[in-house]
Each structure stands twice: as structure tokens, then as C-alpha cells.
Amino acid sequence: MIKLPAYRYDGTTSNRQEVEICLFDSGEVDILIDGEKLRYKVDDITSTPKVGRIRARFAFSDGSVCEVMEHPELDAAIQMLPHQSRQNKIHGIENHLGAIAVVFVMTIVLMFVVVQYGIPAAAKQVAFMIPVEMEQSMGESTMEVFEKHLCEPSKLSDKRQTQLRKKFIGSLDEEMASRIKLIFLHCKGFGPNAFALPAGFVIFTDDIVKLAKHDNELLGVFAHEVGHVMKRHAMRHVLQNTVTGLVIVLLTGDVGSLASLAAALPTVIVQAKFSRDFETESDDYAAAFLRKRNIPTRHLGEMLERLVKKHGGDRLPDFLSSHPATRERIERLKKNH
């Protein structure tokens, strides 16, 4: 026989009675209230799943509930009840130090695998199933911001533009050519740079064209941007950030509205990592692109060297940066020779 101290609430009023629950091996259950006795059977009782050390609740079939105090024999008593919850297995893990340690390590490893491989691989699969047309309005609205607010029309001569356009577009196969829209702009704010926007817009600033010593250097940069477009980085970028945002929100969700500030740093780190991976993929794409057309990849490396001198090198620790260290990019290009 197990005797447990409890509060009993009858379910029709908020009255509280201090009672003792007596569970007999025969399956009989007595509840003792001030010398009176209520008789039940174990079948009449449903115990709610345990969470931490909150008080156990025995719900009786007549609507009454007993809030059972912490007691050495409580677990044994719960074992006697026929209606068991599967969630008590989870309770077992939550309260076992070794199990928590295992779960902890598994969680860290899993998070790493999900961020490193899971999300990028899934996004890649999904991105190539979504038609390019989906990107159209996003690309156009971004393009509009570039043309109207950030940059002016290119100051390069028509002849120079046509010459480069011929070289660039001429190097593309049919599928690429149908996707890429090449645009030259004069952008004071950005210095020498090139951009790939959603829906295949590729922008070259006047400054980068002037900085190049050889047109093959520009072709290398162009190939890198073509890589962004053909590998669907815009779509994958949006997909990956959506999923990451969702996971982070679910994990930190009810900490309170201010805690979203605390979630900002991990979000930035993960998104920067995704961005670096896209850049590396585009560099590899560019290297393969050049090799296939018998153009040495060192042209792209030289362009990078020159740009570093102009922009003044990397200013951020690696884990926060949207691009891999330029030194590493150059090394990788050499290996890709």
C-alpha cells in the first residue's frame, strides 16, 4: 500500500481539501478526507505526464483532481496506474544528467550539420524547382533602386561598352545568354565592383572596367557573376535565410520581444557563412568557365589583387564577413588552375 499526501479539488468548486491517497496492490484506491473515505479504482485515475518536478496530477473519472505532493513513493504509485503517458519517457531523458549531456552534444552536432549541409542542400533542391520567373519582380525592383538611386548611367563610351558586351555575351552558351542581362552603370558609392541581382541582371561599375588591365580580367569577374545567376544563388539565399530565420525564431521565440536582439548575432553569423559559401561556389564556377575557354585563371586572381589594393583589404573577422578572405580566394584560384 502506498500513501500519498495531496490536495483534492472536486471540480465543481475551487474548494481545497487536504487528503491522503491510499493505493492498494489490489487496485483499490481510497481517499481519506478528515476521517471520511472515498473509494475508487486505479482504472478511474489518469495521471498527467510529468514535466520537471511540477506536482503530479491525478484526474479521477468523476471530474475531481488530486494535486499530489512530492513523495519518495510517487513514482512507484504512478507505475500502478494503468493509463500511462508515453511522454514520461521524455521526462526520463530530461531528468537524467548523462542523457542531457548526450542530447546536448547531439544538438550541437545536429545544428552544425543542419546549418553546414542540411539547409544548403535542401535549398539547392528546391531552388532549381522554382521557375526563374519568380525572381523577376524582385530583380526588377532591385535594379530600379540601382538605376534611380544608387548609380547613374555609365560614362563609358558606346564603343567600349559594345566591345565588352560582345566579348562577354559571346563567351556564353545559349542557356546562359538567355538568362544574363548585362548592364554598365556609373556608381560613385561602390567603387570598382560588380553585382549579380535576382532574375539575371549583372551590373559592372565604370570603375571596375577602368581598373582592369586586361579584358580577360573582366571576363573572369563576369564569369563569377554568371555563376551567381546560373547557380540560382538569389533564390537559394532567400530560401536559406527563411529557414534559418524560422529555426532561430522557434528556438528563442518566447524569451520575450527584447530577446530577438539576442538572436541577431547568430543570425548574422549563419547568414554570413551561407554568403561565403556562395562566393566560393561562384569563384569555382568562374575558374571552370575560364579553363573551358582556355583563358588562364590567373587573370581573375590578378583582378582580385588589384581590387584588394583599391578597397583596402578585409576589414572584418572571417566569421562575420560575407566574402571569404581575398587571400584565400586567390590561393583557391591558383589551385584551380
Binding site: R16, V103, H233, V247
Partner: protein
């Protein structure tokens, strides 16, 4: 008002422990990730049951009785909405105002359903809370009154908040006993006048400093930072660099915001609780703005440097503080409440009601 000399002060108490909750939390995290977030309703129920079950009033515990399966459907709807919202606004910016409008129109229904669901599943002494199906009232305080915000230059905001709190309190019941609200709009204006002064001065200052064009420029740049994944090379406009310089230059602003937030939370929290009545029983809330400021600030700091591992600690700490500052001023004991006959809430509302909760979280 009652004779306060005859009342018992019954303290609220939170008995949860950070270490214990860590075990629950980390298992929830693992299962949420493994199940591609489908475990979320189970995680939510376990978390709520832990926090409710550890909250004691007069040594009786609260309980949360929702079933995870009932939440799953609502979670899936919310998930769909989230994906539609995020993807849609990325690819079709015009979709944003439409989605916002739909959400605004649905809001009274969502608020009421969510309140009904959560009240029904909140139990104390085997007696359920309940919330009235008052869609008209919800529409008035969440859509009607806020429409006057622009006309009154926001001066009506404290009044709207008064109306909203009154709506929440007065539509709630415990058993057959309805909650009553004794606060006045004046009380809310007392909380906000200082902040409104700051805001008004701030707005004037901003216009005077012609900060608006600069601000636009900054927003545009931030937007571009988001979209320029395809740049060829790192430059000073890198989102990371922008984040870093923003973080440094805005720490003071951040502290200021946390301060205002803590001030409002403490003052409004006290104002509301000190004016709630349940069958002649009153409440006493003694939150302090400076305590909350310190807790908010240190919680955020610890969560950041621990890469989130101290989230359980932060939550337990917050719950402990809030409970320690709240008491019930009871007339006699709490035995007299009687079960309400109409406490059956339809299952359809349960599930979608939860979606609103979810959307607040998102």
C-alpha cells in the same frame, strides 16, 4: 472597494529551476530540429506545463491542459502563413500590404480565439478560466480606436492601451466569477506622459536635423546590403561591417530602448494588476523599472555570449522575478469559486487560435 484590513496577502511563487528547465529545453530543441520543427506543439505544451505547474498561488499550482495534437493543425497553418509571408514579400513586394490587411482584418477573431483557447486550458484548483466570445469588442480596441492614431498624432495611444487592457481583463472569468477592471485612462496617461514628451521632442529634433533624408539613405543602403549577395568583392558596404558599426554606435540607443521598455512594462504591469478585481479579491503588483532594466539587459547579454545556452536560465529568472512581485489580496480563502456551466470551447477555435500566438512569436 473592500475593507483592506480583512484581507490575506497570498503571494505568487515560481518554483522552477534553471538547471531542471535546461534539460527540458535542450530536449525540445533537439526534437524540434530532428522533426523539421513538427515537434513544436509538443515542445510548447511541455514548456507551458513546466511554467504553469511551477507557479503557485497560496500553495496551489496552476496547470496548462492543452493537447499537443490540438495545436499541430494551428501550427501548420501558421507555418504556411509564415512561408507565404516571407517568400511572398521577397518576390512580390506588393503582396506585403495585402497580407498585412488580411492579417489586420482577421486580428479580432484571432485574438479572441487565442484568448478563449488559452483561458480554457489554464486551470487553477481544477477550475478553468474562460474568455468571452466578444468579437465586436476586439474589433473596437484593435481596429476601431487605433484608426484615430494618425488624427490625434498618437496622443490617444495611452487611451487605446487602457481600452485593450480593459477588454482583456473584463472578458475573462475564473469559474463563474468575472474579472473587473478599475483602472482609468488617467492612470495610463500618467505612465506615458514622460515618454510622449520624449517622443515629441525626438520627432521635432529629427525634422530639425533633416535626419529624414539621411535616414532614407541609410535604409536604402541596409536594403541593398540585404540584396547584394552577388557582389564580386567585399567592400566597406559589406552587411557585416554595417552590422558591426551599427552595433557599436547604437549601444547607447539600445540601452535607452531597454530602459523605456522596462519602464513601461513595470508601470503598466503594476497599473493593470493593482486594478484587477476577482470576486472582491484584489491584486498587488510591485514591479520596479530598474529591476526589469537590469534583468532585460543582463539576460540579453548572457544569452548572446553563451550562444543561446542560457536561454533557460533567463526565462526562469524572469518568471521568478515576476511572480515574486505579485500577490493576491484575498478576502478570506479561495474556496468559494463555482464552476461555470459554459466552459466548452469548440476544437476548431482552439487550433487556429493558437496560430495567433505563433504569429506573435514570429
Amino acid at each position: 472597494m473592500n475593507d483592506t484590513t480583512n484581507t490575506n496577502k497570498l503571494p505568487f511563487e515560481f518554483t522552477g529551476k534553471a538547471g531542471e528547465y535546461f534539460g527540458i529545453w535542450i530536449v525540445n530543441v533537439l526534437l524540434t530540429v530532428v522533426t523539421l520543427t513538427l515537434y513544436t506543439p509538443w515542445a510548447k505544451v511541455r514548456t507551458r506545463r513546466y511554467f504553469y505547474g511551477n507557479t503557485l498561488l497560496d500553495n496551489s499550482a496552476f496547470d496548462y491542459t492543452a493537447e499537443p495534437w490540438a495545436l499541430l493543425k494551428g501550427y501548420l497553418v501558421a507555418l504556411g502563413f509564415f512561408i507565404l509571408y516571407y517568400m511572398g514579400t521577397n518576390f512580390y513586394p506588393l503582396l506585403l500590404p495585402i497580407l498585412m490587411l488580411v492579417f489586420l482584418m482577421a486580428m479580432p477573431w484571432l485574438v479572441v480565439r487565442s484568448m478563449m483557447f488559452n483561458a480554457f486550458h489554464s486551470v487553477y484548483r481544477n477550475m478553468r478560466f474562460s474568455f468571452k466570445k466578444n468579437y465586436g469588442g476586439a474589433a473596437a480596441v484593435f481596429i476601431g480606436w487605433p484608426l484615430l492614431m494618425p488624427l490625434t498624432l498618437g496622443l490617444i495611444f495611452p487611451f487605446i492601451q487602457f481600452k485593450q487592457k480593459k477588454f482583456f481583463v473584463e472578458n475573462s472569468s475564473f469559474g463563474q466569477s468575472e474579472f473587473k477592471f478599475h483602472a482609468t485612462p488617467g492612470g495610463f496617461y500618467k505612465v506615458y506622459w514622460l515618454i510622449m514628451l520624449f517622443v515629441v521632442l525626438g520627432v521635432i529634433g529629427m525634422i530639425a536635423a533633416i535626419a529624414i533624408p539621411a535616414y532614407h539613405n541609410y535604409v536604402e543602403q541596409a536594403r541593398m546590403g540585404q540584396m547584394m549577395y552577388g557582389r564580386f568583392i567585399n567592400a566597406a558596404d559589406d552587411p557585416g561591417i554595417m552590422m558591426l558599426s551599427m552595433a557599436i554606435s547604437q549601444i547607447a540607443t539600445l540601452l535607452f530602448y531597454i530602459g523605456i521598455f522596462a519602464y513601461i512594462q513595470a508601470r503598466v504591469g503594476n497599473l493593470v494588476w493593482n486594478n484587477v478585481e476577482l470576486a472582491s479579491n484584489r491584486f498587488e503588483s510591485k514591479l520596479r523599472a530598474r529591476d526589469l532594466f537590469w534583468i532585460f539587459f543582463s539576460n540579453i547579454f548572457m544569452i548572446v555570449i553563451s550562444f543561446g545556452l542560457l536561454i533557460p536560465w533567463a526565462r526562469v529568472r524572469m518568471a521568478k522575478y515576476r511572480a515574486s512581485k505579485l500577490s493576491m489580496l484575498a478576502v478570506g480563502d479561495l474556496n468559494g469559486f463555482i464552476k461555470s456551466e459554459q466552459d466548452q470551447v469548440g476544437a476548431t477555435g482552439d487550433q487556429v487560435g493558437e496560430m495567433f500566438d505563433m504569429d506573435i512569436g514570429l
